[in-house]
Structure formats: structure tokens, C-alpha cells
């Protein structure tokens, strides 16, 4: 060991905490690479990439869907103003994600999954809390339809109600978290979980549960062009 100046992760750590990258790390990497190679080859052999008819600007697809990984945005588009769904919310998520390390500077729980048992519990709460609310909102706007209750002025259904709903349910989740007296990091773990669950559910609903006119359907009743993989 050489002398180490200042603070480095290796200070006070004996050489017994390390192993040579060859073969230990390299072996793991090779295993991961082989596994993915097998998976990709199997997929490539058994599932063909889609190719539909030649592009035709005069024949609109119904439903017209973005690629699956943008369908979370398209799902939001059904419920709020396009600027909000397509630009402001995703932009805010990217900026908030980038800000996380500058806000959470406490290293006390680094390297621990979900920070602590309490962090794990908050993640679990968010995991249980988010789906019923999200699905409830989606069903409400499909079968009751916000705009059939109030459509004028436009500002109300496209901006105020969606922002109010997002604000209210985020606030309610934070209120539930408060009773656990969590650290800042534990709150972040819970909030991030709510984001991830929302991200996955909106993607899945819009990908395999929306057919003609982007209305809810069962996956086995989807029209042919509805799967944008």
C-alpha cells in the first residue's frame, strides 16, 4: 500500500478489503455479457421486429401511438394540457432528478438499499399507495370524464385540476410519511418510488390497455397497430 493523503474511501481500510479485478470483477462482467448475449440472440431468433405497410401520411393510424417508452407522456396528454404533459412535467422531473445529489448531502446511509428499514417502509407505502390512486384517476377520466363535469374555462380542466390532483396526492403522501419522522433521504426514497410506480403504470396502461381512439381496452382486443415496440 502506498501512503494515502487526505480522505479517500480507502483510508483506514486494509488491503484485505480489496481483491484483484482479474479474475474477480472480470468474471462477473463476462457472465453479465454472456447472459445478455443469450437473451438478445434468443429474442432475435424467435421474435421478428415489426414492419407494417409503407408510411402513408393520408392514412391515419388508429390509435396513433408514440414509441412505448414515451407512452407515459402520451398517457398524461389524455388528462392535461399538452404543454404540461409533454414538456413541463417531464422537464421538471429531469431537473428535480439532477438536483437530488445537491440537496441530499448526508452520507450516513450511503451504500444501503433504501437507506434504512424506515426508508424501505416508506418505499413500500408509496408502492401500495400509488397504483389504486393512479388507476382510479385513469378510470374516472375514462368513464366519468372530467370535461363532462367542467369544461369551461379551458384553464380549469387542462391546468388547474391536473396540477391540483398531482399536488394533493403528493402532499397527502408526504403527510403520511411525516408520521414516521423520516430523514430527508428516507422521504426522497418514498417520493422516488411513487415516481417510478407512476412511470411504469402509465407506460403499461398506455401501451397494452389503450386501443381505438386511445380508449381503455383489454390487451387481447388491441387493434393491430397499437403495439409500438
Amino acid at each position: 500500500m502506498e501512503l494515502v493523503k487526505g480522505t479517500s474511501p480507502m483510508v483506514d481500510k486494509g488491503p484485505e478489503d480489496t481483491v484483484t479485478a482479474w479474475p474477480h470483477l472480470l468474471l462477473m462482467e463476462i457472465l453479465a455479457v454472456l447472459g445478455v448475449t443469450l437473451l438478445l440472440l434468443a429474442m432475435g431468433i424467435f421474435i421478428n421486429a415489426p414492419l407494417r405497410e409503407l408510411a402513408n401520411p393520408d392514412v391515419t393510424e388508429n390509435p396513433a401511438k408514440a414509441p412505448w417508452y414515451f407512452l407515459n407522456l402520451q398517457e398524461m396528454l389524455l388528462h392535461m394540457h399538452p404543454s404540461l404533459a409533454g414538456v413541463i412535467v417531464p422537464g421538471a422531473i429531469i431537473v428535480l432528478l439532477m438536483m437530488v445529489p445537491y440537496l441530499d448531502r448526508n452520507k450516513a446511509d450511503i451504500g444501503i438499499w433504501f437507506a434504512s428499514p424506515k426508508g424501505r417502509r416508506l418505499a413500500l407505502i408509496a408502492l401500495i399507495y400509488t397504483p389504486p390512486i393512479l388507476l382510479g384517476l385513469i378510470f374516472f377520466n375514462e368513464y366519468v370524464v372530467v370535461r363532462s363535469i367542467i369544461s369551461q374555462p379551458e384553464l380549469i380542466p387542462s391546468w388547474l385540476i391536473p396540477l391540483g390532483v398531482i399536488g394533493f396526492f403528493t402532499g397527502a403522501l408526504l403527510f403520511i410519511f411525516r408520521s414516521f419522522k423520516p430523514t430527508f433521504r428516507e422521504v426522497l426514497v418514498g417520493l422516488f418510488t411513487a415516481f417510478v410506480v407512476t412511470y411504469f403504470i402509465t407506460t403499461i396502461v398506455s401501451t397494452v390497455f389503450r386501443g381505438y381512439g386511445m380508449h381503455l381496452t383489454w390487451p387481447w382486443e388491441l387493434p393491430p397497430g397499437a403495439l409500438t415496440f
Binding site: T7, S8, P9, K13, P15, D17, T18, T20, A21, W22, P23, H24, L25, L26, M28, E29, A32, V33, V36, L40, M43, G44, I45, I47, N48, A49, P50, L51, R52, E53, L54, A55, P57, E61, K65, A66, P67, W68, Y69, F70, L77, P82, S83, G86, I88, I94, L97, M98, P101, Y102, D104, K107, A108, D109, I110, G111, W113, V189, G225, T228
Partner: protein, 247 residues
């Protein structure tokens, strides 16, 4: 017998000119194999045992990188058979599937690899978040990571138009309409991206150039910085850093 064969292969000047060390079963040769091999020297010679716990990283970053590499290779192969023109693009893909040896497999692997990369980059971000891997001194690498996530989505999206079938045409029309919803500059941003008011030849060319040149270059540079920073930040995060002071 096998010893003899190994001796035959390795005990000559050609082999020795490529590998300047013996079989890496001693501490010395194990460090030499890492720092004298171009493709391995990105690794540190020694890693913390904690790094190797499969349930810490799940190998997700490595998998994301490997998928990027596979996509680069299959993508270059696909370029030999594809012309980004509205007259040819669609028939080129048809010909690729029917007339080019392994053309269908090539296209399939490129397509499913792209989807898998979108998925694995997100899973990797989840891993880093939930283990607190973004904390000091790795703030910047997290920010670079978020950008890599965005680049991955854009790479996938620009590639989606290239087959020029109904699926790609309408998916890109809908997708760029979402971008066009930006307040004030939305319409201009959409026109800049498409090179016209609607998806057509100009859009196909722009998406092609973005997909095969600009975005791969940008992503490569950011991935290299990402890896550089991992080394400079002392390798992967671990609980051993918990008591280190944060400036």
C-alpha cells in the same frame, strides 16, 4: 497434453509481443493484465469486495454499456443496407429481411437491444438512487447519468422513424407533436427537428443523421466521462464511506 498446447501458443515472439506478461495467476501478472491491456485498463487493478456483491449493482451499468456496444456494431452493419430516402428506406428494410444473409437477425437484435437498453438504463438509475450512489463525490456523475438516460431515449426515438412504415411514421408524428406542445418555442422546435411542418424526407434525413452520427458521438463522449468519473470518485459507492466527512 493441454500444457503442451498452451506452451506452443504462448511461448513465441508473436504472442509475447501482444501479451507482455504470463498467465494472470500471480498478483503481479493480475495487475499487469489490467493496466497493460488497452481494453481492460479502464478497470482499477484492485476493487473493493463490496463492489462485487451481485445484489449491489446487479451488473446493470455494465449491461447498459454492453447493449450500447452491441447496438453500435449491429447499427454499423445495418447502415450498409439502408438509404435514408422515402423512396428507398422501406424497401431497403424489406430487402434486408429477405435477401441479406442474417439480415432479419441483425435487425431484430438491433431493435430488441435498443428496447432493452431503454429498460436497463432506467433500472440502473433506480439502483443508483436506491443505494444512494449519487452522493458526494458522485453528484456530477449522477447528473451525467440523467443526461445519458435522455440520450438513450432520443437515440431510440430517432431510430424508430427509419423503417419508414406506418408504425414509425405515426409514432414519430405523435412523438414530435408532444415536443411541439412546448410553450412559446414548441412549434419552432418541432419544425427544427423535422426540417419541415410535417414528417417527410427532411425529417427522415435529420433523424438519420442524429441517429447514426450526432447522438452516438455525444453518448459515447458522455459514457467515457461517466467511466472516468467512476474511477476518479474512488470506484463504486459502498457503506465503508459512511463516516467520511462531506465538504
Amino acid at each position: 497434453m493441454s500444457r503442451k498446447i498452451i506452451h506452443l501458443i504462448t511461448a513465441n515472439r508473436v504472442w509475447r509481443s501482444i501479451f507482455r506478461y504470463g498467465y494472470p495467476d500471480t498478483e503481479e501478472n493480475r495487475s499487469k493484465v489490467i493496466f497493460q491491456t488497452f481494453f481492460l485498463h479502464i478497470h482499477p487493478v484492485k476493487v473493493k469486495t463490496h463492489t462485487l456483491k451481485p445484489t449491489y449493482t446487479f451488473g446493470l451499468g455494465v449491461i447498459a454499456f454492453y447493449l450500447f456496444a452491441v447496438l453500435t456494431i449491429t447499427g454499423v452493419l445495418l447502415m450498409f443496407f439502408y438509404v435514408p430516402s422515402v423512396q428507398r428506406a422501406y424497401t431497403d428494410i424489406q430487402a434486408l429481411e429477405t435477401a441479406v444473409p442474417f439480415g432479419m437477425l441483425m435487425r431484430n437484435v438491433h431493435r430488441w437491444g435498443a428496447h432493452l437498453m431503454v429498460l436497463f438504463v432506467f433500472l440502473h438509475m433506480m439502483r443508483v438512487f436506491y443505494t444512494g450512489g449519487y452522493k458526494y463525490p458522485r453528484e456530477l456523475n449522477w447528473v451525467i447519468g440523467v443526461l445519458l438516460w435522455v440520450f438513450t431515449l432520443l437515440l431510440s426515438f430517432t431510430g424508430y422513424l427509419l423503417p419508414w412504415d406506418q408504425l414509425s411514421f405515426w409514432a414519430i408524428t405523435v412523438g414530435t407533436n408532444i415536443a411541439g406542445a412546448a410553450p412559446v418555442i414548441g412549434e419552432e422546435a418541432r419544425t427544427l427537428l423535422l426540417g419541415a411542418k410535417e414528417v417527410g424526407q427532411d425529417a427522415l434525413l435529420r433523424f438519420y443523421v442524429l441517429h447514426v452520427m450526432l447522438l452516438p458521438l455525444v453518448a459515447t463522449v458522455f459514457i467515457l466521462i461517466h467511466f472516468w468519473r467512476i474511477r476518479k470518485d474512488g470506484g463504486i459507492s459502498s457503506p465503508a464511506e459512511q463516516n467520511l466527512p462531506v465538504p
